[in-house]
Structure formats: C-alpha cells, structure tokens
C-alpha cells in the first residue's frame, strides 16, 4: 500500500509542505530541504490507480533522464528514491506558468505566438543537443519562466515520454501503441518512431497553430484511425481562420506540420532563427493557402501513408544535424583577399552540409555614450548600405534564399554583439576574419580572439595567406572609432 502524503511528513530528508497538483499519472507536492534553499517539487507516480505499467515506466524514464539533463531549459534534478513501495523524484520548482492558460485567450497576437515559438524552439534545440527528444511537447509542458532581468525563457517539463539516443529506451520495447498526446503527436510517432527530434517540431507546430487560431489543427482524435487522419488530411490554413495572420507565420507553422519530417525545419534552431527574424522567412505556396487541399491530393497522400514504414522513418531520423553557420564580416575595413578567403571557407562548409543555413552578419559600431539613434534617416541609410554590401559579398556563394539570411547589428562592443547573436540564434559555427598585427589591434585587442574565447560555438578564424600589414588597417570587425 503506497504511503499517504500529508504536510509535515518527511520522505528521504524532504519535508512535505502542500499538494500542488493531482494529475492522472502523478501527484506533485511542494517540499523543502535544509540543504536546498530553492523551491522544490516532489513528483510521485500514482501506483494505486488504473493502468499502472505505462505511468510507472514514464516515471522511470523521467528518473533516468532528469539527472543527465542540464542547462536553463530543464528543471534541475535534486534527488530520487523509494519510500516503501512509493518511488519519488525531487526537482527544482521553476516559477512561471505553462502555456496552457494562454489557449483560453487564443487567438493571441501573431508577434507573441512567434516570440513564444522561438523561445520553445530554443529550449528544444538545447534538449536535442543533449541527445534527447521530448516526444510530448504541448502547452502544458512548456513553462514560461521570467528569469532575472525580465528575460523570458521556456523551460521544458515532464520527460515521461522522452527518449535519449544513448540510453536504454524503457518505453519503446514495452508498448506497441502510439505514445503521445493525441492532438500533438507527430505522424511518425503514431507509427512508433521515437528517435526523430523533428517530431517535437510537429508538436510545437500544433501548439503554435492553436495559439494563433484558437483551434486545433487535427482536433482531438480518440482512436488510432483518428490519429492517422493527419497522414493525409492537411489542417485548415491558419489564415483561413484568422485572415490578418501574417503570411510568414502561416509559412512557419505549416512547415512544422508537414507529414514528412524531411519537409519540416531540419532543426529546432532553424525554426527559432526564422521566428526571430520573420522578415527573412522565405514564403512558399504554404504562405498563400486559404483552403485545404482537394480530394485528389488527399487521396494521393492517403495512398502514400499506407506505404510508410516505421523502420525507414527511423533510419531517416538519424541524418546528421543541419548546422546554422554564421559569418561575421567587417564592412568598414574591406580586404579583398580576406573577403575571398572567408567566402572560400564558407563555401566549403555549406557545401558539405546541404541542410545548413548561413547567417551573414555585420556590426555597426555605435557610440558607447550619447544619442546614436538608429531611427534617423542617416542611421537607416547606413543600415541599408551595409545590407546591400552583405548581399553583394554573399552573391558569389550562390545560395538559395531559404538558406541565407542577413543581419546588421548595432553595438558599441563588436565582439560582444557577435557572441550574443551567435548564442541567441543557437549558431553552431561562426566564421570570421583576422587581420595582421596593427597599431589599432595592439591598442584594442583582437575581436576574433575575444569571440573565440567567449562564444559557445565552434569558431573559425580565417586569414588570407598574404600577410596584410598595411598601415592604417585594423583588426577585423573593430572598425575605426564611430564617425
């Protein structure tokens, strides 16, 4: 008989304070511990109720995964144990609310949908980089947390259905029914594939669709047959429900909801990049759809769905990541040879990773003190001139529009701006140039050295082989003092 929790009870050194949530799978209690002065949460699976196996296994999965996860997008694991026959798990209680209450207010503003989507995508990217696919992304598992300084972040919760690519999958071998939440589950998950990170992008797409339109794209099916309808019945385009929804948002959401994982965003980071820079989303016919596909297209998809094999889908889930590459260019101190050398390096990288995307970035130095308004005509003019120069540099790469974006940043500190941009957009690889030893560099220090030391991605510093030591030249990216 499992223990009965009550305030004041001590379990594994944790004092039970009050119940927080009574769910179908588990109960949550607030607990305290003298060694841990942060808000704590104890999770206990219900083992006295209904179908025991799946919820206990889900709890085991969470107990296995939470201790190996780290970073700001997951709750911190504190301890786990068993009291009599009752297993328990204690984690940090992250403050904030899940996105679930927002559904009552839906449709919500498109800009807010995009912002939340970007935060969720960044959290998923962090999780995916830790080899874990969540597999139960939905509003109630996305917790909006406001960190110090008012910075918003999505923290992912409930890893009971998750899968770690390098640890035993306790769930896969147990149950031969689709595992997930009916409105959100991806087509490949319905077929039992549990290894594709892009399944989380599908579920996030369902969430964003619901937030943006107030409706579920695939309803709330209660049978396997109902679940499989999403293989061939495409959702109503969001703009047919909310006519003033921007086309770029429909493009991003419908791309997440593609039946074929290969047609979705290749990584969560790429989705985050798009949602953070909507003006650069390349619009396809998805953006203009106003009604569902006709019977012919649906029938064709239905036929194709009959031939879908979980093994083949699982094999495709193993395709390598599609990296986000960022190139930082100094447009003030042009050096033809260095420009060409950087372009050559970029060319070789993007050629080896067909799913990769390139962000071309330059920084406009602004004064540290004073009114450096970017709103005046002159500022806009400088901004546009740099965009034109970036596009001109990139033209020789001959990349299609959907693989390249352009960003002009403004900052008094060039190295910091580059590091922040790389971090905020989950960049995998940053390429930048270095210049020869000059007076300015000796005075100010090297930007590339600072970026290499401070950025959390791979850095390639490119030099042209000819020594460039012309007087008056300066270190890459530093530029001269603001004009």
């Amino acid at each position: 008989m499992p223990i009965k929790l009550r305030p004041g009870l001590v379990i594994g050194g944790f004092t039970v304070v009050e119940p927080l949530h009574e769910g179908g799978m588990a109960t949550l209690w607030r607990v305290t511990h003298p060694d841990h002065p942060i808000p704590l949460l104890m999770k206990l699976p219900r083992i006295d109720y209904g179908e025991a196996a799946s919820q206990v296994v889900g709890f085991e999965v969470e107990r296995m995964l939470l201790p190996v996860l780290s970073g700001p997008h997951v709750p911190r694991f504190i301890a786990a144990g068993d009291e009599d026959d009752q297993p328990w798990l204690v984690m940090e209680q992250v403050s904030g609310q899940t996105l679930k209450p927002l559904l009552d207010a839906a449709p919500i503003a498109p800009e807010r949908v995009a912002a939340l989507g970007a935060l969720a995508a960044l959290a998923l990217d962090d999780l995916h980089r830790q080899q874990v696919v969540h597999l139960d992304v939905k509003p109630s598992n996305l917790l909006l947390h406001r960190a110090e300084g008012g910075i918003e972040r999505i923290v992912l919760i409930d890893f009971g259905l998750s899968r770690h690519a390098q640890l035993p999958d306790l769930l896969a071998e147990q149950f031969h029914v689709p595992m997930g939440t009916a409105p959100y589950i991806s087509p490949e998950q319905v077929l039992g594939v549990r290894s594709d990170p892009r399944s989380d992008l599908f579920a996030l797409g369902v969430t964003l669709y619901h937030l943006a339109t107030g409706q579920r794209p695939f309803g709330f099916p209660g049978s396997l047959r109902g679940l499989k309808r999403r293989f061939y019945q495409d959702p109503l385009p969001p703009r047919s429900l909310v006519p003033d929804l921007p086309r770029w948002l429909q493009e991003a959401i419908l791309r997440c909801l593609e039946v074929d994982p290969d047609a979705r965003y290749p990584t969560a980071a790429q989705l985050a990049l798009d949602l953070q820079h909507p003006e650069q989303i390349v619009l396809t016919d998805r953006a203009d759809r106003m009604r569902r596909d006709g019977t012919l297209a649906r029938t064709r998809r239905w036929w194709r769905s009959l031939g879908m094999e979980p093994e083949k889908l699982a094999a495709r889930a193993m395709t390598p990541r599609a990296p986000l590459i960022m190139v930082a260019l100094d447009l003030k101190q042009r050096d033809m040879e260095l420009d060409a050398a950087i372009r050559d390096t970029v060319q070789r990288l993007v050629a080896t990773a067909p799913g990769s995307r390139l962000a071309c970035v330059t920084v406009m130095r602004t004064a540290r003190i004073g009114m450096d308004s970017n709103l005046d005509a002159e500022g806009r003019n400088r901004h546009v001139k740099r965009l034109v120069a970036l596009r001109d540099w990139a033209r020789a790469l001959d990349l299609p529009d959907h693989r390249i974006t352009f960003h002009v940043l403004e900052s008094p500190d060039i190295a910091e701006a580059l590091v922040e941009h790389a971090r905020g957009n989950a960049i995998d690889h940053l390429i930048m140039g270095a210049r020869g030893m000059t007076g300015v560099r000796r005075l100010l220090g090297s930007v590339s050295a600072r970026v290499a030391a401070e950025a959390d991605c791979t850095i390639t510093v490119v030099r042209s082989r000819r020594a460039v030591t012309e007087a008056g030249g300066s270190d890459a990216m530093h530029g001269a003092a603001p004009d």
């Binding site: 206990v56 296995m64 190996v68 068993d82 297993p87 390098q166 640890l167 035993p168 306790l170 147990q174």
Partner: protein, 246 residues
Amino acid sequence: MRIGFLADLHANREATEACMKALSRAGCKRFVFLGDLIGYGADPAWVVDFVRAQVAAGAVAVQGNHDAALREGAGGALHAEARAAIDWTRARLDDAQRSFLLGLPLAVEDGDRLYVHANAFDPGGWAYVHNALAVERSLAATGCSLTLVGHVHDQALHYTGTAGQPIRFDPVPGVAVPLLASRRWLAVVGSCGQPRDGNPAAACAWLDTAGRRLTFLRVPYDHAGAAAKIRAAGLPETFAARLEGG
C-alpha cells in the same frame, strides 16, 4: 565507490595496462577481473602476476574457461588453436601462477552484484549469454540486481522489461547508464585483451555504486605492439591479426 571491471584479458599486457590507467583516471579504487586472464596473448605470466597482486590488495577475480583449461587434460572444449595457446601458456607459468588461476572462484557475490565469467545458471559450463533466452536464464538464476560477465567479447547491457522479458541495449562508450533499481541488469563488459567487433580498442567498464551508473569504455592501446609480441612468440598468426583487426 567506483569499481572497475576487466574481462577476457587474454594475456594482453598492453591492453590491461591501458584499461587500468583509464579506469584509475575515472576514479576507480576497486577492481574486478571477470575471468580469462590467459590464452591468445604473449604475456600470460605478467598478466597473472598483475591480477594476483591486485587480488592481494583487495580486488576480486573469477575464473574463466581459458584459466580452467590449464588443468592437465582439460581444454578439450577449446578449439585447436586456443588449445595450442593454452599448452604454450602452461609452459610459461610457474606453479604459483598456475595454482592461482586454478584456485579462482567461478562466481562471487558482492552485495547486490554477481561477478561471473560466463553466466549465472551454470558458471562452470561456460554457456554464452548471447541471446534473449540465455540472458533470461542467467537473470533467473540469481537474486542479485546486477550481474557482470565477460566471455562474450562484445559489450552489451541487458535489462528486464516490466513483464520480466530481457531487453538488449548496446551501450555507447563513455556514456553513463543509470541502472534503475526497479529493473534487473546483466552487463557484458567486453573483452580487454581481444576485442572482436572490428574496433581494436580494449573494452572495460566502471560502476559508480552510489549513483548506480555503469559506464562502458573503449580504450585505444598499442595493439600493434601486442600483436608483434604474439608473432615473436611463435603463436598462431590469427591471434595477432585479431588484435589488429579488432
């Protein structure tokens, strides 16, 4: 406490030294040798002396089929080349080294853990745990929640499903696997001295008993040097080629 596990050392000094170094660096203070200290390799005396010294210092060692084959007249179960290697080995060990090997226990229970070379259901029969049925039999034959074996040269981690059926997991070297107390586990730590999976790196594993986490390792070592010694000793060429091909 961190415990290091080595199995199937097969008289390979270079591999044994490399694994011991890697396990010590991981913080292991205790060591368990899961049998087959000899056979195939060119350094039986060194490996036996090394393990004997470890056992004197508190380590645990169990007997493998190659060790047991040292007994006069035994070795009939081994294939011809392995038997030739045992005859060659026998001549290179003194009485003390031989009686150490022949005196090793077949299985040792250490709290919640069972150490045995081949399996738990018939340790001296040397049947491999190479399929679900054998794993199931082995798990059924012990009350310990974790069994550690060698004999099968490829690393594997088997565990029980909720219905008790065994499930095989292929461990990723260097990734710690949490061993949930609610499941029962059988770990094949892999061969230190003669890997057979196409990767010449030596295999071993270590357990963090407090966190109940098991980490499998692959340790690169001078396999060309170990192979050269086998050739110089006049042992069958296939043993040398095996170390190079993995």
